[in-house]
Amino acid sequence: MNRFYLPLGIFALLALVLAVGIRHSPDKGIIVSPLIGKAAPRFALPDLADPSHVIDSTALSGRWYLLNVWGTWCVECRAEHEMLLKVHTSGRVPLIGLDWKDEDDRAQAWLRQLGNPYELVAVDRGGRAAIDWGVYGAPETFLVNPQGVVVYKHVGALDESTWTREILPRLPAAPGKG
């Protein structure tokens, strides 16, 4: 009987390691951002509405905002657009767009056609700012607090459940609701 203890023990240990691995495996290949809890990377990029105007991300601090990375070439971005409009009408948090590796005229046409949920859209034609934010696939959405710290990141289309379960609870209570 004694001779079975060792293999059994090794099996149990292996099973434990694999179980922990499966439990902690990232969902659908989503990678946890090392940016969470760190200062939002700074960028100074042209404004989509007026390319002569530069949007400096340091001017955004002092309040909560959602940075949404999108592009007109991105299919999922079209899918989430409806939700972005809802976020915009809710008035709970301003949306800042980061138009990633896109053409300005296409992006402008997209916003005219589908509606513009963004307060500002920064144009990242070269993709350098997106790299600083650790973006690996649009759409991605970052929640940044008034201290300029990234508190949450969502990869993929923003949906109702992410909005209500992940983003709203992190925001301060809505004015009027206490």
């Binding site: 990678i31 090392p34 990377p41 590796k101 696939g137």
Partner: protein, 145 residues
């Protein structure tokens, strides 16, 4: 005739590989080029996840390769470039995990398992050797029952 055929095949093969090579970056300094190739092969393409940025055709991989090239030309060390990448994309971007408290078991497990295996086989060999010494009695014992 034969050599001609070989030559043709070799030429065709060479043409095939040059078509496949998607990264044509060539740095003037051969030492930098070597480091460039090594680095781009050990950084993960975050979009494809099982390819290195050297092997991936996606846009983001090209952007990251350009970063590696620019930073090498700016005189950054390999470790500085790895840290720069990991600060943005996490340790996941490094195909070669770093030694840290969290990854220690990953690095140490093979050695520990090897020692464990050696210990187990040593015990089995010793037990068998002991069995052999007491062989003559036990065989008679077995045959009787």
């Amino acid at each position: 005739m034969r050599t001609g055929l070989f030559l043709m095949m070799a030429l065709l093969l060479a043409a095939a590989t040059s078509v496949l090579a998607l990264d044509t970056t060539q740095l003037a300094d051969p030492a930098l080029q070597g480091r460039y190739l090594a680095l781009t092969h050990e950084l993960r393409c975050m979009q494809c996840q099982n390819e290195s940025i050297a092997d991936s055709p996606v846009d983001l991989a090209a952007d990251l390769r350009n970063q590696v090239r620019d930073q090498l030309l700016a005189g950054k060390s390999d470790e500085e470039i790895r840290n720069w990448m990991a600060a943005r994309y996490g340790d996941f971007i490094l195909f070669r995990p770093r030694f840290a408290a969290r990854t220690a078991w990953l690095w140490l497990a093979p050695g520990v398992l090897l020692l464990l295996g050696a210990f187990i086989s040593w015990r089995i060999v010793r037990q068998r050797a002991q069995l052999l010494a007491s062989d003559s009695d036990s065989v008679d014992e077995d045959q009787r029952s």
